[in-house]
Amino acid sequence: MEEFFTYAPAIALLPLAAFVVALVFGDAMPKKGAIAGIFATAGSLGLSLLMLAAVASGEVHHETYYEWAVGDTAGHTAAEGIAFTFGILIDPLSALMLVIVSLIALLVHVFSLGYMNAEGEKGLPRYYAELGLFTFSMLAFVFADNLLMAFMFFELVGLCSYLLIGFWFRTKSAPSAAKKAFLVTRFGDYFFLVGVVAIGATFGTLAFAGDGSFVAEAEAALDGGETLFGFDAETWITITGLLVLGGVIGKSAQFPLHTWLPDAMEGPTTVSALIHAATMVAAGVYLVARMFGYYALSPSALAIIAFVGGFTALFAATMAVVKDDIKQVLAYSTISQYGYMMLGLGVGGYVAGVFHLMNHAFFKALLFLGAGAVIILMHHEQDMWKMGGLKNKAPVTYYTFLAGALALAGIIPFSGFWSKDEILYDAIILGLESNVFLAAYAMGLLAVFFTGFYTFRMVFLTFHGEPRSDAAEDPHGIGWSVKAPLVVLGVLSLVAGVANLAPVGKLLDLDIMFLEGWLDGEYGGLEELTYGFYGDMLPYETALIGGSEETTLLVAAALSLGLAFSGAGLAWKLYNVPEPTEHTQRLGGARDVLRSNYYQDEVQVWLAEGVTLPVARAADRFDQTVIDGVVNGVSSVSLFGSSWLKRIQTGLVTNYAALLVAGFIGLLLVLGVYGGWFL
């Protein structure tokens, strides 16, 4: 099956072709470029599945396709030279991610037919072109075989999200949100780029895999006790790892760079689905998984990942509780869920993190597309307080949305439960050994309660009770292109958990942890990129409750399930009534804090407008007055001097003659004094 890999570049190039086609010919095409995008992403999905099959048959593809630049390294590295290349790495992780990304992209394209085309939007060729470019960038990012290539497409993903969030550029808010998204993630990418440069300059290579990968070099440096850039190896690895993590925090919307994501809801809902489920936001976490071997070398970096993740999970979940806009709730849930993935990866749960990444891709895409369907139903109304009672009028939307909600809330047996449970299990067994991680675990656990609450608050407000507006009384119809993606994703949200039923497998001693085996290279994979290899590198020790795996599993699962149910139950009690009321005033002072997102935005806006801009203005004033003042001052002095001096020139020839004579006599005197005539 190795010959399949010949087509690997086409996975990314097909959407790129769709981008060009939609941009150039979009206006002349029947569906304004949608057809090209659908064919391209379907092609990518087909090829990605082939890759998956090829990897399952034991093959791995790692090949350099193109040399971007070569040159000498300097100073600090033993490597002779460095080549910056474009290459493709298809291993279990990237093959899985390729399938997820191309599937979601395809479904989003199809959904767009109903969401964008049917609504008579302007600028559709631009929309489809940007979607194509987005998919291209993400797919190329996923199969990148080195850190620089990953960074380059990471940035392109950022560009596409800028363009798509700002799709409705005629409004005031969309361009502002787009700018914020790009700027905040750019701030993270600054650290990422410093990290890329630092890793390249340290190890002379940026490859993820292979003998000369930077991970292998770092391990060798660690073993050899080398000093890198004046630090001992572990410190330097931690520093560079954290620098790269800056990009991850920006793109995956982790605290404190998460503020762009709720604003990004200004884009079309389809774009939100793509950004949240498969592209932009997923890119960050995927990068951590991709270079997990590097982080495994640095316990401090991993601990920071775990705490950032755990804190973000809880922090974002609390904010989601008070939101009125259906898309805002989903936005905060995304931040929170990516926090879980970071927590999972940070506590060494590589499989758990990737598992949740996959499940989340399905159920979050489902929820966003479902929200998109609701928005169509509601004639473009997004306020949940104006909805209600859609359950009977739009059953397909309701049941699929419910499937997504159950998965998000982590209710057994939906997919979200299995992966979230696994993350929390990995966190607790680590926490039992090194107690500091218990704090991260506790934050993750508490977030489960809030997740259950806000998810079902959203479901009940939207679909249950009595219609609370005219639009809800008489919803707009939706077509097959909206329903079909919902159904596909609904089914996946229900069954995707089967991929790794870890608790069931461990309790019943069954070998049904397919994903774990998959990521461990049981079917095929590069040895240094497997779960088992990472496990050996990890500096972590774990412990179990009472020394029994079963007890620990059951306690952990019961805790998280119980909290999820109690959150959902509270929502049921408060909001599953015909005429629900807000109840938020009961929160008292906390309500305002939550509503305004802990004043995070205010702080960042203050940083931008209250600090940077005044500094810039002050610099400008300094430039205009002091620096340019000196320059103009020089010319003023000479102008003033000459305006005084020019008065010698009287225009009277007699005066000139007199000056001439005086000058001559003066010269004679000077020469006389120096020549010694007067002595």
Partner: protein
């Protein structure tokens, strides 16, 4: 003889255009400028040089020709031209940008056209001369001759404050040239040479250094003094903070095509000369004395320039100040003195020439339609001029260093080269600080875009704002294509650049 032909065509073309009727001058100048453009692209394909033109060890100079010209006491001045991997890309940049600048001036220039286009061609001839000349006097003649047409272009066809801007530009850069000229002549007189040919001066400088004392200075201290004086001289041209204040005035007042050439090529004269003189001729112990201060002002240029751009409300001023910032990267790359650093700096010269040219053209096209450049006046231009705005957005992202565009390649090379440099102490810290520029640059460009081109269309104007004509748009697409080509395949020129940079580094840097 190729280079003589190149310069000759531009010079004769300038004369012909000067006397041609106004009506046809634009088209005529365009047709004439195609010849040097085509020739220079031919040079790119026929390039057979290797090594650095100033350092003879084993390399050959491409398209070399040398004729004795003036005998001046015991010193010989010759017509000595030739290209290497550093100068050739800049020659090609010059010819291509000139052609495109001529096309982009068809719309805005409607007065004394024949003189305008004649001067543009005259600049082109001199710019090619600057990059091709290998004799100091010849080089200096071209160097100074560039100022005259640019002074006239700003002073005659410029905006409301054109006289102030033109005089400031001329006097400032001219005084700087004087400092540099004096320093270099002093150096030559102290060396054991009887010619002003740069390769021989370089060889004498590197093997032995100054032999005679001048003003009581000799040996390394003379070399250091000359290095400093020449650095200051070129710093104005680059420009490096705090010698940059002529730049925004000149840019803002200059007509679009002049801004394109000013930012695109004229600024590169400064960095090119820095590389050719300061970083090639002087032994590394001299350069390393100044390494830390130069790195400091490079970082200041990047950050301070970017902050200034953030504070502007005139779109053209935004782009003008951002040039200060971008040139700071070049200085950082040079002082890192590594292959990627110096090579990246040279790459950035070309890349920034293309990108800033593109930006000025896009701003110019919008100005042609709206007759305002104030961010506060404009809103929603994307609605009215989708293609021009699309190019402006693409150019902005190129400026921010978006991967797969030349700006990213250039900046990445510089950052990578600078970060690992052992020549420069504290290199990682300097690099990391300078890299923060990429965040600020994104900030002010996105802010400007949000204000000017997005949002609801609002513009109080008596002019009919509509789509720009094809000949305004086409040059921008040519530039965009080159920018993307260089971003995807930097090896197109990076190869020859590193080949020419390596010999420099062998004299003390890290190759």
């Amino acid at each position: 003889m190729m280079l003589e032909l190149l310069i000759g065509v531009a010079l004769v073309g300038a004369l012909v255009t000067f006397v041609a009727p106004n009506r046809i001058a634009g088209k005529l100048a365009f047709a004439i400028s195609l010849v040097p453009a085509a020739l220079s692209i031919y040079l790119l394909t026929a390039f057979d040089g290797s090594g650095n033109a100033l350092l003879a060890d084993g390399g050959t100079i491409a398209f070399e020709s040398s004729v004795e010209w003036i005998q001046f006491g015991e010193y010989t001045i010759s017509w000595f031209v030739g290209l290497d991997g550093i100068s050739l890309p800049l020659v090609v940049l010059t010819t291509i940008l000139t052609t495109l600048a001529i096309v982009s001036s068809w719309t805005p220039i409607d007065d004394r056209e024949s003189q305008f286009y004649g001067l543009v061609l005259f600049i082109e001839a001199n710019l090619i001369g600057v990059f091709a000349a290998l004799d100091f006097f010849l080089w200096f003649i071209f160097w100074e001759a560039v100022l005259i047409p640019m002074y006239l272009l700003i002073g005659i066809w410029g905006g409301p404050r054109r006289k102030y801007a033109a005089i400031k530009f001329f006097v400032y850069t001219n005084v700087a040239s004087l400092v540099m000229f004096g320093a270099f002549i002093a150096l030559v007189f102290s060396l054991d040479v009887t010619t002003f040919a740069l390769p021989e001066v370089t060889a004498a400088m590197l093997n032995g250094g100054p032999q005679t004392e001048i003003f009581g200075l000799g040996g390394t201290s003379l070399a250091s003094a000359v290095f400093l004086a020449m650095f200051l001289g070129f710093a104005v041209k680059v420009p490096i903070v705090p010698f940059h204040t002529w730049l925004p005035d000149a840019h803002v007042e200059a007509p679009t095509p002049a801004s394109v050439l000013l930012a695109g090529v004229l600024l590169k004269m400064g960095t090119y000369a820095l590389l050719r003189f300061n970083f090639t001729m002087f032994p590394d112990e001299v350069i390393s004395t100044f390494a830390i201060p130069i790195a400091v002002i490079a970082v200041i240029s990047v950050i301070y320039g970017a902050l200034l751009a953030l504070a502007q409300t005139d779109l053209k001023r935004v782009v003008a100040y951002s040039s200060v910032s971008s040139m700071g990267y070049v200085i950082l790359g040079l002082i890192a003195f590594t292959q990627f650093g110096v090579g990246g700096a040279t790459f950035q010269m070309v890349s920034h020439g293309l990108i800033s040219g593109l930006m000025f053209m896009a701003v110019g096209v919008i100005y042609n339609a709206t007759h305002t450049r104030m961010l506060t006046d404009m809103s929603g231009m994307a609605d009215k001029m989708p293609i021009a705005v699309g190019v402006l957005i693409a150019g902005s992202f190129a400026y921010m260093g978006l991967p797969l565009m030349s700006g990213f390649a250039a900046e990445y090379f510089i950052f990578f080269g600078a970060f690992g440099s052992e020549f420069l102490e504290y290199a990682p810290i300097f690099t990391a600080l300078a890299m923060f520029g990429i965040v600020i640059v994104a900030g002010y460009l996105l802010f400007a875009l949000q204000r000017a081109v997005f949002g609801p269309y609002e513009l109080e104007t008596d002019y009919d704002v509509g789509r720009a004509p094809l000949h305004d748009i086409a040059p921008m697409f040519v530039l965009l294509a080159i920018i993307i080509a260089l971003g995807v395949a930097p090896e197109l020129i990076f190869d020859m650049i590193t080949d020419a940079v390596d010999p420099i580094l062998e004299h003390g840097g890290e190759s």
